[in-house]
Amino acid sequence: MSIKFKNVSYIYSPETPMAKKGLDNVSFELKDGSFNAIIGHTGSGKSTLMQHFNALIKPATGKIEIAGTTITPETTNKNLKDLRRHVSLVFQFPETQLFENTVLDDIAFGPKNFGYDNEKALESARYWLKKVGLSEEIGKRSPFELSGGQMRRVAIAGVMAYEPDILCLDEPAAGLDPEARKQMMALFSDYQKDGHTVILVTHNMDDVAKYADNVLVMEQGKLIKQDTPTEIFKNRKWLQEHHLEEPKASLFAAKLTNYKFTKMPLNINSLVKEIEDNLK
């Protein structure tokens, strides 16, 4: 039950002078239980692509197979609940979606919509509140009394609380301080290890290198490359041509001109190890 995109295209404001291709003939396949990263510039089509995963946007042409549902240009807005229960999206700055009286009620909103009874929804909300690192006491408070970082956690708990098989996240750690960022990423990594598929839209190449096992590179609505992080970050010239950043570790390694690396280091630990091997 993998995710398949077949020749998917999408056009913004069709039939107007401002018509613009959002996606241009995109085809790929993602494995179940994988951790995928989508990278590319602002405006490259990353967010457009992401909104196709749960049919918030329908393709203009092409076909998407995901979580047992087939999405085509003819798909209507009816009966998408089942799809959205299995495939969920977390938008950038998701704390703006909070609205309930209490934190716990807000987390339980999704589960209730997807058919959990009241008791079970709240139970799940309590569980995920703890999972995102917030205390039980916070559950009773109004979400609008919390700090920005706490609100972010609540919003993310609200999506994880119905345990979608496929979790898509758009820059979930943007604006968080480093410690919170680390915790957040670890949470998604654990979620993937528990057997779910994670799709991460991000600019942070260190996160890509550290967590992803598959990378999609978007440019002007086209998918220009799909590969493992090791392969993607191997070709420095190609990255520069496409104005993509590199992980800090490989950038540092490149500056050590008289060192020989058996493998391009993508994180600090392998970088340090390679340096030490060279110095031995």
Binding site: Q51, R84, T96, Q97, L98, F109, G110
Partner: protein, 261 residues
């Protein structure tokens, strides 16, 4: 993106928005004067000439009329049966089809159409921002009766500035809640009424935060009310504007001459 403005270049585009707004408002008032076939023909010719002067494709104006065409036709049709006078062709209880009814229905149809055409000329050839400037200028005399025109202008410019931003925000929040299983299109009336809250509360909170941020930014950029402020954007009257106003004086004159007294 949002709004009806269409980029173009013609004499109408070069007119001062104040002149255009004034003309639009006057035109609507002048139409009240039309009351016989000749005056309605004059009004129609004037508005078609204004449309032609924009040098835009007729489709743009058709798009302005289209959404309302059924309403216009239906209303004109109903009107057929409510006017009594002249030759009566058919009668049933309070309903009657008469020659007066027919002319009346045609007059109403024309009124509807010319008013929409003229306001479309205004909105497709003038940027919303310019219209707002023109409105502010028109409101100025209200200062004499101590209405806070400068504050109204501030509110107006902020509203105009934030319509596109909030529009995007609305869609973003809608999509986020849809992802969480909210349903805006299904269920009974109460369910749908209730479904507004997950959209509205975030929008409201967002508005509060924007207001705090924006007012802080304005103050730190030295904003302290309208006193002693200068203006970067200035409007200028030119010859076309006098021609424009003359055109409408001419319309007034013709209507006064040719309407039935």
């Amino acid at each position: 993106l949002i709004g009806r403005y269409v980029a173009g270049d013609s004499i109408v585009y070069r007119m001062d928005p104040r002149g255009k707004l004034l003309a639009t408002i006057l035109f609507i008032l002048f139409v009240f004067l039309a009351n016989n076939p000749i005056s309605y023909i004059i009004v129609t010719i004037f508005s078609l000439a204004a449309v032609a002067a924009t040098k835009l494709k007729p489709k743009i104006f058709w798009d302005g009329v289209k959404p309302l065409i059924w309403l216009i036709l239906f209303t004109s049709f109903l009107q057929l049966f409510f006017t009594v006078g002249g030759t009566v062709y058919w009668r049933w209880t309070i309903f009657a089809l008469s020659s007066y009814g027919i002319t009346n229905a045609i007059f109403i149809f024309i009124r509807f159409t010319v008013i929409i055409l003229i306001s479309t000329v205004m909105t497709v050839t003038t940027k919303p921002l310019e219209i707002a400037d023109a409105i502010e200028w028109l409101l100025k005399p209200l200062k004499l009766i101590r209405i806070p025109v400068d504050k109204i202008a501030l509110v107006m410019s902020i509203a105009l500035r934030f319509v596109p931003t909030l529009f995007d925000e609305t869609f973003k929040i809608m999509n986020a809640q849809r992802s969480r299983g909210a349903d805006f299109n299904n269920g009974g009336l109460v369910t749908r009424a209730k479904a507004i809250t997950p959209l509205l509360v975030p929008l409201f909170i967002n508005s509060l935060e924007t207001a705090i941020d924006l007012s802080t930014a304005m103050e730190s950029r030295g904003y302290r009310g309208d006193k002693g402020r200068t203006k970067f954007r200035v409007l200028k009257w030119s010859n076309v504007d006098f021609i424009n106003l003359f055109y409408f004086v001419l319309l007034l004159g013709l209507l006064l001459v040719f309407r039935t007294h």
